[in-house]
C-alpha cells in the first residue's frame, strides 16, 4: 500500500507538472489575447513529433532545444499571420480559428508520420533505473522529466516575478487593456507570448513523447483534459492552473492504480439485476472510470464554484 502511494504520488506530481507546462502557456495566452488556444495541445503533439524526428537525425539533446524553438516559431507565425487577422471578427471566430487549426495540424501530422505510434525512445544516457523503492525500479527518465518540468517551473516563476517582461505579462493577466494604453507594443508582446506559450507546450511534448505514446491522436486525448485544468483552476489564473494541474495529475494517477468497485466494497449485485445497466455501474472499477474523473471534477466545480478554484475574472 505504501509502495502504491509513493509511486503514484511521484507519477501524479510528474503528470501534474507536465500538465502545468502546457496550462501555464494556455493561461497566459488566454489572459493577454483573450483567446483560448484550442490548438495548444496540438503544439504539444508537434513538439513530440519534432523531437522524435530531430532526435533521429541529431540525437535527443539537440532535439530538446530545437523542437520547442521550431514549434514556438510556428506558434508565433500562427499569431502573426492568422489570429491577428481573425481578431476583428471577435472571440468566437478566434476560438474557431484555433479549432480549425487543431484539426489541420492533426491531419498534417497523420500525413507526415502516419496514424500508428512512432518509435520515440528514451535516450540511452537516461535509460536506467534511478532508484529502487519497495522492489519497484523507478526509471531515471521519469526523474529527468520531473526535474526538467520543475526547473522550467522555477525559471518561469523567476521570469514572471523578477524581470520587466514578467512584470508586463503579470500586469496583462489582470489589466490587459491598461498594458496596451501604457504604450507597450501590444502586437509584438502578443506574438512573443504566443510563441513562448506554444514552445512551452512543445517542451512538454519533447520530454513526454518517449515516456507516453507519440501518436497522431495524442493532442485529441490530452486537449480536453488541458481545458478542464484551466477551467477548474479558474480561467486566467496562473496559481489556479498550477493547483488544478497537480490536483488532476494526482487524482488521475491514483485512480488508475485502484481496483476498487462498488461490488468489491458491498458485494456483488443480486442476480436479478445482474444483466441490467445497473450492473455496469456496480461492477466498474475506479481504474476504469479514471478517464472520466477530470470531467466529473469539472462538473462538480462548476456546480459549487462556477468561477473555478482560484478564478476571479468573469469571461
Amino acid at each position: 500500500m505504501l509502495e502504491l502511494i509513493v509511486i503514484s504520488t511521484l507519477n501524479g506530481v510528474l503528470f501534474g507538472m507536465l500538465l502545468f507546462l502546457m496550462a501555464s502557456g494556455l493561461t497566459v495566452i488566454f489572459s493577454m489575447l483573450g483567446v483560448l488556444n484550442f490548438a495548444h495541445a496540438s503544439f504539444y503533439m508537434l513538439g513530440a513529433f519534432f523531437g522524435f524526428q530531430i532526435s533521429l537525425w541529431f540525437g535527443f539533446w539537440p532535439a530538446l532545444l530545437i523542437a520547442p524553438l521550431l514549434a514556438g516559431a510556428i506558434g508565433a507565425g500562427v499569431e502573426r499571420f492568422g489570429l491577428r487577422h481573425v481578431h476583428r471578427n471577435g472571440h468566437v471566430a478566434e476560438l474557431l480559428f484555433t479549432f480549425g487549426l487543431a484539426f489541420v495540424i492533426e491531419e498534417v501530422v497523420q500525413i507526415i508520420w502516419g496514424r500508428s505510434p512512432v518509435d520515440y525512445r528514451v535516450p540511452a544516457v537516461l535509460d536506467f533505473p534511478a532508484f529502487t523503492i519497495f522492489s519497484t525500479n523507478y526509471p531515471a527518465y521519469k526523474m529527468f522529466m520531473l526535474l526538467m518540468s520543475i526547473a522550467i517551473f522555477i525559471g518561469l516563476l523567476l521570469v514572471l516575478k523578477k524581470t520587466r517582461v514578467g512584470l508586463i505579462v503579470q500586469a496583462a493577466l489582470t489589466h490587459p487593456h491598461m498594458v496596451g494604453h501604457l504604450g507597450h507594443n501590444v502586437g509584438r508582446i502578443f506574438m512573443l507570448v504566443f510563441g513562448v506559450g506554444t514552445a512551452l507546450a512543445a517542451v512538454a511534448g519533447v520530454i513526454a513523447g518517449p515516456a507516453l505514446v507519440t501518436q497522431s491522436n495524442m493532442a485529441g486525448l490530452l486537449g480536453p483534459i488541458l481545458f478542464v485544468v484551466v477551467v477548474v483552476g479558474g480561467l486566467g489564473s496562473l496559481p489556479g492552473a498550477f493547483v488544478a494541474s497537480l490536483l488532476i495529475g494526482l487524482v488521475q494517477t491514483f485512480a488508475v492504480s485502484m481496483n476498487g468497485s462498488l461490488s468489491g466494497a458491498f458485494g456483488p449485485l443480486s442476480s436479478a439485476y445482474g444483466s441490467t445497466w445497473l450492473a455496469d455501474i456496480w461492477d466498474v472499477t475506479i481504474a476504469q472510470i479514471a478517464p472520466i474523473i477530470p470531467y466529473m471534477l469539472l462538473v462538480l466545480v462548476l456546480i459549487f464554484r462556477p468561477m473555478g478554484l482560484l478564478g476571479k475574472r468573469d469571461t
Binding site: G100, L101, T276, V299, L302, T315
Partner: protein, 433 residues
C-alpha cells in the same frame, strides 16, 4: 404606454409579404416531394436523407451558436442520446408488439435530447462565452467516455442495432426501402425547419438574441440571461435529439461515435461554413458540407485536410459564411451596382484558381512522398492523373502557387476598390450597406 407599444411594434405584414412567406414553405415542401422523382437512384436518396438529418442538426446547433451566441463543442451528446433512445424504443416496441408506428420514433429521440439537455444544461449554461465552450467540451467528453463504460445501454464499441421494419405498419409502409425513409426524413425536416423558424419569431427567440448581444441589458429589463440560455439549450437539445433519432433510423444502428467530438465538430463546421447570421445559413452549410464530405472522399485521400483548410479560410475571410457572402451583395443588387463588382470577381477568379490548383498539386505530391512513397508515382487526385515524381509537375506546382498568389493579390485589391465604389453608390442612393 399603449401608444409607445403601438409605435414600436413592427407593421403587420401586407398580404403580398404573407404570400411570399407561406409560398416559400410550400415551395420547400414541393421540392422535397419532387426531389426523389428527379434523382431516383438509391445513392442519391441516401444522400438526401443524410442532408435532411444534417439540416435539422445544424439548425438546432444554430439555436445555440447563431441565435444565443453559445459556442458548443459537445452538441453531439444530445444527437447521440436521441439516437440511442430511439434505437432502444424501436427494440422495446417491436419486442412488445406495441401499436406505435415508426414515424413517431423521432419524437421519442427529441424528448430524450430535451430531457438530457434539461438535465445537463443548467450547469452548462451557467457561464457564457469561452467558459461555456470549454464546459460543453468537458460535458461532451464525459458522456462520450461514459458511453464506453455503460456497456449494457450503449453497446460498447459495436453499438446497438435494430430492425426498423418490425414496428406497426401504417398504410402498408414498412420503412424498409430507402425511398420511404427519405419521405420520413423529409417530413420531419420540414416540420423541424418550420418549428425552428417559428422559434426565432417568439419573444423567447428575441430574448436569446438579446442575451447573445448584451447580457447585462437583459438583466436590466428583468430577465435572467442564465434562464434564457438554458431554455435555448433545451430547445437545441430537442431538435438535436430528433436529428439523432432520424440518423439512427436511417442506419439502423447507434454507436458511441454518434456522441463523440468528431460529430460535434462536423455540425460546427457545417453551421459555421453555411453562415450563422441567417436562418437559411445552416441549411446551406448542411447541404454543402454533406455533399463535400461525400464528394471529396472519392477525389482525394486527404480530404479532411482540405476540409479543415476550407473551414479556416471561412473563419478568416468570410466570417458570415456562404450565406453571409451572398447576402452582402443584396444592397448592391437593390442599387443596381452589382455589375461594377462582377468583372473584378471574374478577373480575380483566374489567378485564384491557379493558386489553389498549385496548392493542391503540391499537397498531393507531398502526400504521395510521405504516405505511400513506394507506390507508382502516377497518382490521380480530383479526377486528374499526373506523375508525382516528375520535376515538371513540381515546377508547375511552384509556379502556379507562387505566381498565382502574387497575381491574385493584385486582383484582390481591385475587388476591394470596386466593392467600395459599388457600396458607396448604393449608400448614396439611400440603401443601407
Amino acid at each position: 404606454m399603449s401608444e409607445i407599444a403601438a409605435n414600436a411594434a413592427p407593421p403587420l405584414p401586407t398580404s403580398g409579404e404573407r404570400l411570399k412567406f407561406y409560398g416559400m414553405w410550400v415551395a420547400a415542401a414541393i421540392v422535397l416531394v419532387l426531389l426523389p422523382k428527379i434523382f431516383s437512384s438509391g445513392g442519391s436518396l441516401t444522400t438526401f436523407s443524410l442532408i435532411g438529418i444534417s439540416i435539422i442538426f445544424s439548425l438546432s446547433y444554430n439555436i445555440l451558436l447563431g441565435q444565443t451566441g453559445l459556442l458548443s463543442f459537445g452538441h453531439a451528446v444530445y444527437y447521440g442520446l436521441g439516437g440511442f433512445l430511439a434505437i432502444h424504443a424501436i427494440n422495446i416496441f417491436s419486442a412488445g408488439k406495441w401499436p406505435i408506428p415508426l414515424p413517431v420514433i423521432p419524437l421519442i429521440g427529441g424528448l430524450a435530447g430535451l430531457a438530457f439537455a434539461a438535465l445537463l444544461g443548467w450547469v452548462s449554461t451557467k457561464r457564457s462565452g469561452t467558459a461555456f465552450a470549454m464546459i460543453s467540451l468537458g460535458v461532451g467528453e464525459l458522456i462520450a467516455s461514459s458511453a464506453l463504460i455503460l456497456r449494457t445501454f450503449f453497446g460498447g464499441e459495436a453499438g446497438v442495432s435494430t430492425n426498423r421494419t418490425k414496428l406497426l405498419k401504417l398504410f402498408g409502409w414498412s420503412f424498409g426501402p430507402q425511398i420511404q425513409i427519405y419521405y420520413l426524413v423529409a417530413a420531419w425536416t420540414l416540420i423541424a425547419m418550420i418549428a425552428m423558424y417559428a422559434l426565432t419569431r417568439t419573444p423567447l427567440g428575441r430574448m436569446c438574441n438579446a442575451a447573445r448581444d448584451n447580457p447585462e441589458r437583459v438583466q436590466f429589463v428583468g430577465y435572467n440571461p442564465h434562464v434564457v440560455r438554458y431554455l435555448a439549450f433545451c430547445f437545441a437539445g430537442l431538435f438535436a435529439g430528433i436529428a439523432g433519432a432520424l440518423a439512427a433510423i436511417n442506419f439502423e444502428i447507434a454507436n458511441s461515435a454518434y456522441l463523440g467530438a468528431e460529430q460535434s465538430g462536423t455540425v460546427l463546421f457545417a453551421t459555421y461554413i453555411g453562415g450563422i447570421g441567417f436562418f437559411i445559413g445552416p441549411i446551406v452549410g448542411a447541404i454543402f458540407v454533406t455533399m463535400l464530405s461525400l464528394g471529396l472522399s472519392d477525389l482525394t485521400q486527404v480530404w479532411q485536410l482540405y476540409f479543415g483548410l476550407i473551414f479556416i479560410a471561412v473563419v478568416m475571410f468570410a466570417p458570415g459564411g456562404i450565406t453571409g457572402l451572398l447576402m452582402m451583395h443584396r444592397p448592391l443588387v437593390k442599387a443596381g451596382t452589382l455589375m461594377r463588382v462582377l468583372p473584378s470577381y471574374l478577373i480575380a477568379l483566374v489567378p485564384t484558381v491557379a493558386m489553389i490548383a498549385g496548392f493542391i498539386l503540391s499537397v498531393e505530391t507531398i502526400v504521395h512522398y510521405t504516405v505511400n512513397p513506394s507506390d507508382d508515382p502516377h497518382i490521380r487526385a480530383f479526377g486528374v492523373s499526373f506523375d508525382a515524381a516528375s520535376p515538371i509537375i513540381w515546377a508547375t506546382a511552384g509556379v502556379l502557387l507562387i505566381g498565382g498568389f502574387l497575381v491574385a493579390r493584385m486582383t484582390w485589391t481591385r475587388i476591394g476598390q470596386a466593392w467600395d465604389d459599388a457600396t458607396g453608390t448604393a449608400r448614396d442612393k439611400g440603401i443601407a450597406a
